[in-house]
Every structure is written in C-alpha cells, then in structure tokens.
Symmetry: C2
Subunit: 500 residues, 2 copies
C-alpha cells in the first residue's frame, strides 16, 4: 500500500471507532432528555463523562498526526482532501488545548450552569458574574491555544461554522439589522395578527405531529418522535435520527413550529452521505447550514399560506370541527411583535435577538466589554434594536443557557441559518415550478429532493459558504431574507417596503 492508502485506511478505521462511540454517547444524551428517571441523573452524569473521556482520548490519539501529515503530503482524491481538511481541524482544535484547560473549562461550565440557573431564578446577575468572568477568560485562553494569531472570536465561531469570520458577520449583521428595524417599525403601526389559543389535548396531538413530519419526508423507519421539555434532534447516524417536540395544549402553532423545525434538521441528517460515514464527510457542513434546513421548513414553508391550507385538512382529520380556519392559522403564525425572549420570538425580530448577542460576545472576547458592564450593554441594545426595555436581568442578559456552558460563538449560526434559508428559498422558487401548489397539496417531495440534491447529499465536502455559492450563486442573502420577510409580513400587515 502507498503511504496515502495505508494512512487513509488507518485514519478511517480510527474515525469509525470515534463515530460508533459518538453514536453510543448520542443514545445516552437522547435518553437523558426523553426517558431518564429523575433519580438516574447522577449515574447518567458518570456515563456521559466517561464517554467524553474516551472520545477525547481517541480524538487526540498520537497516531492521528502521523496519518494526517502523510496524507497532507500526498496525492489525494476529492473525498480524501475534504476528509483530511475536516479531520485536521477537529484534531488541531482538540490537541492544541492543554489538558488543564480542558479540565478547567469543563468544571467552569458545570459550575456555571448551576450558578446561572440559580441566578436566573433569583434575578441575581451578580451571583453569576464571577462564573461568567471565568468562562470568558478560559474561552479566550482556549481560542489563543488553538490559534495564537487569530481573532479569538473567529476561533470560537469556527467550531460551529468553520469558514465564517467575525468581520464577515459584522458586515452582514449590520445590514440585516438596519433592514429589520425598518420592517419592524412599519408593522408596529398596524394591528397585530390574531392569536389561536384553542385547546387541543396534547396526547391526541402527537399522532398529528408525526403525520406532519412524515409528510415532509421524515422517514420513521430511521427515526422516531418523542416529547421533550426543550425540543432537539439527534442524528446517531443517517439510519437513526430522532426528533423531539414540545406539545402545548393551547399553543398549537408553537408546538407545530417546533416539530417542523426539528423535522427540518432531521431531513438533513437522514440525507447525509451514509457511504462516506468514516471519512469525516457524512456530517453537516456547519451548524449554520444545519439551522438553514430547520428554518427553511419551519418558516419559509411552514409559515406559508399554502402550508396552512394543507395543514388545516390534517388538523380537521385529527380534530374534526376544530373551530380554527386555515387563514386563522396562517395569520396567527405570522404575528410580529418585539419581545424580551429569544426562544419565543417571531421570525422577524428573532434575528435582532441574535445580533445583540453576537455583538456582545465579540466585545467580551475582544476585551472591549467587561462582564460587569454586560447587563447595561444588553439593555441598551434591546432598547435600540427592539424598542423594549428589559425589566430585569432574568428576562434580559440571563435568559439563555449558552454562556453558562462557555458556548461562545454559537448564537450567530441561528441567523446564518435564516440568511442561508432565504437564499435557498429564492433559488428553489426560481428553479422549480409550482412548488406552492405542491405545498398546498401536502406534497413536499420535489422540495425535499431539491434540498437533498443541493445540500444534504454533499455532507461536509465543502464548507457551508462554498456549498451555498455552488447552489445559489452570488445572491445577496441579506437582501433575500429582507425581501422574503417584507414579502410575507409586509403584505400580510398591509405595509410596503420604503423606496421600492
């Protein structure tokens, strides 16, 4: 065997064990949020910690450097080149962080989570601040360890979106913010959309949600749907991709949106190139691209009038005489109203919540904002961008779990997802005929086929921005998103985009 062939063979065998261990760890994580008995939490913590340890040992195995170096010096085919690029990144990110720092971060995250939960319950930012100081400090150390010369926020961000840069996001997000504020100002002056708060027994809702997911193309032979407090999707492998949802008795639309969102993630996972499973390529190209798939289905398709025309017929089958019309559902699902809380925000204001967090994270990592000044900076931005005044820190700077676990750089992927989804939607509409008639008929096959062909089947051959360029050309995603949002919400609210 050539050096390339033998190194590739050794590396993929090693990756196979990592993949299998990750699958097992995934089952533990899924079970923890869906099935675990109350008193089983401590033992599950031990199991999860052991799996992390075993994965870290394998991810930093001394053999990897040799295989990667040999491959990097050799003549690689396209799959090998992409796989080596991905594995090099993963390996460097793991091996460059000193073990002491890994341990310190793990402890700070664990302590931070508990402290955050209590601080949020007591609206006591001061109790969380020292933990956040530590987490910011350790995260900056980690970024420096991985790339001493890079921008620390670039380094953290790229754990989730490998080819994204702080500077690119700054430019995109500034333009988006401006456009969103304009749209929100316009709809603020007109009456809000009606609400739908009819009660539907949750037990009876589940079968309907499963039917919706199946109609979108989610394959129940390779997955299942369960209830969870915080909905999530987990892909153990393309053949075992599980979705969860939270059903609400009097918030049909909220629950439905969650299911469609998670089904979107799951369709991506089920569509990854299974045959490349040990190459580091059968994975999402980025968290942002993953989020584009969930947002595309949740918003672009799932909040459209044709979607509700179809969904209404499903609802009537499950709840005859529901007393809710398709138009009620459509209008209620498109309320726009600036609020305090990210996770319950509508699709327009949602991005402003993200932009606030992005700007603050960057400032924390650059050292231009102190942890002590964070609440005031938060409140200022909410006032400026959303026009609302957080009454306390519990509903303000303490609302999200992310920072308590040292997860800096994750938030932007939510809005990146919306930007990608908008350009995908515009391209799909330009390339395919009659998709809205298909949606109204509950026929999602052509749309899914298009996403499978353009996005899913490629896995992580290309980074997300490159893949997107292949699919949408040089479309302006900010303009696509604003144009889509004005198209739906402007029309619905009877307002027009200024100057168009």
């Amino acid at each position: 065997m050539s050096d390339v062939a033998s190194s590739w063979s050794a590396l993929t065998a090693h990756l196979s064990e990592i993949r299998v261990l990750q699958g097992a760890a995934g089952v533990l994580a899924w079970d923890q949020q869906t099935c675990l008995p109350k008193e089983g939490a401590a033992f599950r913590g031990e199991q999860v910690a052991l799996m992390s340890k075993l994965l870290h040992e394998r991810g930093t195995d001394a053999g990897i450097e040799g295989w990667l170096s040999a491959l990097e010096a050799g003549d690689l085919d396209a799959v090998q080149a992409a796989g080596v690029r991905n594995m090099r990144r993963d390996y460097d990110r793991q091996v460059r962080v000193p073990k002491d720092l890994v341990v310190a971060l793990s402890k700070a995250s664990s302590d931070g989570f508990g402290a955050w939960l209590e601080a949020k319950n007591n609206d006591d930012y001061g109790a969380f601040a020292p933990h956040l100081e530590t987490l910011v400090d350790l995260s900056r150390q980690k970024a420096r360890a991985i790339d001493p010369d890079g921008h620390p926020y670039d380094t953290l961000l790229q754990a989730f979106d490998p080819a994204a840069t702080t500077e690119d996001l700054r430019v995109l997000f500034a333009r988006l913010r401006e456009g969103l504020v304009e749209l929100i100002d316009a709809v603020r002056t007109v009456p809000a959309m009606p609400n739908v708060d009819t009660a539907f027994p949750v037990d009876a809702q589940m079968a309907m949600h499963a039917e919706v997911a199946a109609a979108l193309g989610y394959d129940f032979d390779r997955g299942r749907i369960d209830s969870a407090e915080h909905p999530f999707t987990i892909g153990l492998c393309t053949d075992d991709v599980r979705i969860t949802t939270h059903l609400y008795e009097t918030n049909l639309i909220g629950g439905l949106g969650g299911t469609v969102h998670e089904a979107g993630h799951a369709l991506y996972e089920q569509g990854l190139p299974h045959e490349l499973k040990n190459t580091g390529i059968a994975a999402a190209a980025s968290i942002g691209l993953h989020e584009s798939q969930s947002r595309f289905w949740e918003n672009y398709i799932g909040r459209s009038r044709p979607f509700f025309a179809w969904f209404h017929s499903v609802l009537e089958r499950h709840f005859p005489g529901s007393g809710v019309s398709a138009e009620d559902l459509y209008r209620a699902s498109n309320r726009v109203s600036p609020g305090l809380i990210r996770v319950t925000a509508d699709e327009v204001t949602y991005n402003l919540h993200i932009i606030v967090r992005f700007e603050l994270e960057v400032a924390l990592m650059e050292g231009t904002l102190s942890v002590a000044d964070l609440p005031a900076a938060w409140n200022d931005r909410y006032r400026e961008y959303l026009g609302i005044d957080p009454p306390d820190d519990a509903q303000g700077v303490l609302q999200d779990v992310h920072w308590s676990g040292g997860s800096f750089g994750y938030f932007p992927s939510y809005t990146l997802g919306n930007l990608y989804a908008a350009s995908l939607g515009a391209t799909l509409e330009a390339e395919l005929d009659g998709i809205w008639d298909q949606v109204a008929a509950g026929d999602f096959g052509q749309i899914l086929g298009w996403l499978r062909d353009r996005i899913h089947r490629h896995g992580h051959m290309m980074d997300a921005p490159d893949r997107m360029r292949e699919v949408v050309g040089d479309r302006d995603s900010v303009e696509d998103l604003l144009s889509y949002l004005w198209g739906r919400h402007g029309r619905l609210h009877g307002v027009s985009r200024p100057g168009r």
Copy 2:
C-alpha cells in the same frame, strides 16, 4: 497505604469504570428493545460490539491479577473478602478464555441466532444442527479453558449461579420432577379452570400496570415502564431500573403476570446496596436468586386469591364494569395444563419444561447425547414428563432462543428461582402475621421490607445458597415448592396429595 489498601483502592477505581461502561451498554440494550427505529439496528450492532470490546479490555486488564493477588494474600474485611471472591471469579472466567475462542463464540452465536430463527420458521432442525454442533463444541472448549478439571456443565452453570453444581441440581430436579408429575396427573382428571379473554384496550392498560408495579413498591423515580415484545428488566444502577411488559388486548392475566414478574426483578435491583457499588457486591447473588424474586411476586403473591381481591378493585377503577370477577381472575390465572411451549406454561408444568432442558444440556456437555439425537431425546422426555407429543421441532427442540446464542447453563436458574421462592414464601408466612390480609388490601410494604432485609440489601456478599440458608435455615425447597403447589392447585382443583 498498606498493600491491601492501595490494591483495594486501585481495584475499586477500575471496577467503577467498568460499572459506568456497563451502565452505558445497558442503556443501548434497553433502547434496542424499546425505542430503536427499524433501520437503526445495524449501527446499534456496531455500538454494542464496541462496548463489549471496551468492557472485555477492562475486564481482562493486566493490572487486575496483581491487585487481586495482593488482596488475596492480605487481611481483608468482610466486604473486601466477598468483593475479591466475586471479582476473582469474573476475572478468571474472562481471562482464561483465549481471544480466538471468544471471537469464535461470538461469531457462532451471531450466526447461530440467524440460523435458528430461520430453522424455527421453516421447522427445519437439520439447518440449525451444524450451528448447534459448533456451539456445543465451542462451549465445551470454553468450559475446559476456564476449569480444565471441572465438570463442563458446572463451569457453564456457575456463570449464572456461582455455587450451583450439576450433581446438586440433578438430585433436586429428579425429586421435583417426580412430585410434579404426581400433581399434574391428579389435576389432569378434573375440569380445567375457566379462561378470561375479555378485551381491554392495550393503551388504557398501561396506566393500570404502572399502578400495580407502584403498589408492589417499585419506585418510578428510579425507573419507568415501557412496552417490549419480550418483557425484560434492566438495572443500570439502583437509581435507574427499567421494566418492560407486553400488553395483550384479550389476555389480561398474561400481561399482568409479566408486569408483576418484571416488577419482582426490579424490586431486587432497586434494593441492592448502592453504597457498595464499586466493590462487586451491589449485584444479584445469582440469576437463580434473581428469578426467585420475580417468581415470588408473580406466582406466590400474584396468583393468590387475596391478590386478585385487591387487583379486581384496581381493574374496576380503570375499567368500570369490567365484567370480570375477582374469582374469575384467580381461577383463570391458575389453570394447569401441560403444553408444548415453555414461555406460556403454567407455574406447575413450567418446571418440567426446564428439567427437560437441563437434562439435555448436561448430556450434550457430557458428550453422552449428540446434536443429531437431540430432537428425539427432547420428544421422548416431553412424552414421559408432560404426557404430550411435540408435533414438530418448531414447537419442540427449536422453540427457545437460548442455545442459538450458546447460552448453556441458564435454564436451571428458572426452576432454582421457583425453589428459592417457595422456601422464601414458607419462611415469610411463618415469620410475619397477616400478610394475606395485607395483600388483599393492596399493602405490600411489609412483604417487600422482609425481602429487602433478608435478600436485597445483601447484594452478592454471600452466594445464593448460603444467603438462602441464612434466611430459610435448612428447609427442603423441593418439598416447599410441591407443598405450595399442592396447596393452591390441589385445593382449587379439588384433589388431595396422595398419602398425606
């Protein structure tokens, strides 16, 4: 630290990792039988194989011999002595089997299972016979590797019931067989008990089953109940012990018996000494003793007239106007009727099914019976002991999964469990007052407390026969079982035990 202290500390730390890995493997096994999507089976197979490999590596770690030797030469307290005895057995059983043989057995089991399934479906013993030849041969090799001088069946048996011997079982089982045949002959001449085949929707049954399990003392904060094709209980740790059951629309009693049986296993697991979790002691003393707990609840308590007096009130709450009386339930649950199939057998004839298998297994391992002659030997014994003639091998020698996986020596634990349960029941009745009134009132606390005190909390400090002797003295378990069975079934069928 003394040599003992440092070796003990190292050994228990090592055991802790094994325990945590076993817990994770347990979650995978549970999920496989309750939640796994159809297409997820292949990946799960990879995960299970990896966990087995990791467990085998740790179970045969070179450090263990040193720690055990140091401890065996030292001055040990009671917990250490028992822990070292248990770990020595486990270690020797693992380390003495050559790796090639482990691999060959694993392959033969996997191939054997597939071949058995097909052979059973096609009623084609000939197609399974070569696989069984291999499994018998490899199992004998394994027994020889573990203990070159021992009886091969002793060695296999002791994987499940450490202190049991073939010779002891031969004597016990021969006496039991004789007594059972006498009882079956007596009830054969009187009309069978009535059947209960009222339909109860399975979805609505689950809440009732959960209530029954909770009433027995099963703690749902440390467990859960789910549906599974083949009911089982799995104890990941004392704080996460899960039961499963199979609900039948028109076989209320069959489903209920399964739940009570599994709850019995689970009560043992939830009652093990958690504080000794890394010592090799917080485990069942044997599979036979485990089975005694499930059988005690399923049969001794769960087929009694007072139990059905209470259960009937539960049934009426869940299914008002059920149309079934407590007496109907009691009588139907005590039908005695020799049949072909072990898993659906009544509690009297059940033991004969086991004795047939025990005698044949011993002969296969001793080399006095060939695989080719096995079906004829099977049919001869069914004719002799149960008075019935298997019409084909599918319902005869091919009915059970055990041998297809090379699991020889497991069957006796079912009847050992019934023997232990009978002596426990007789002792409990002698020591406690008014238990049947408590059962009729749905109050199982004193009974569970007694089992916790006498059996559960001791874990595997003593081997099962020694623990039993502590609890029941030198009672004759065969006589206890026969006396219990005659007491219930003789009375119910209006026949008396000859010569008494």
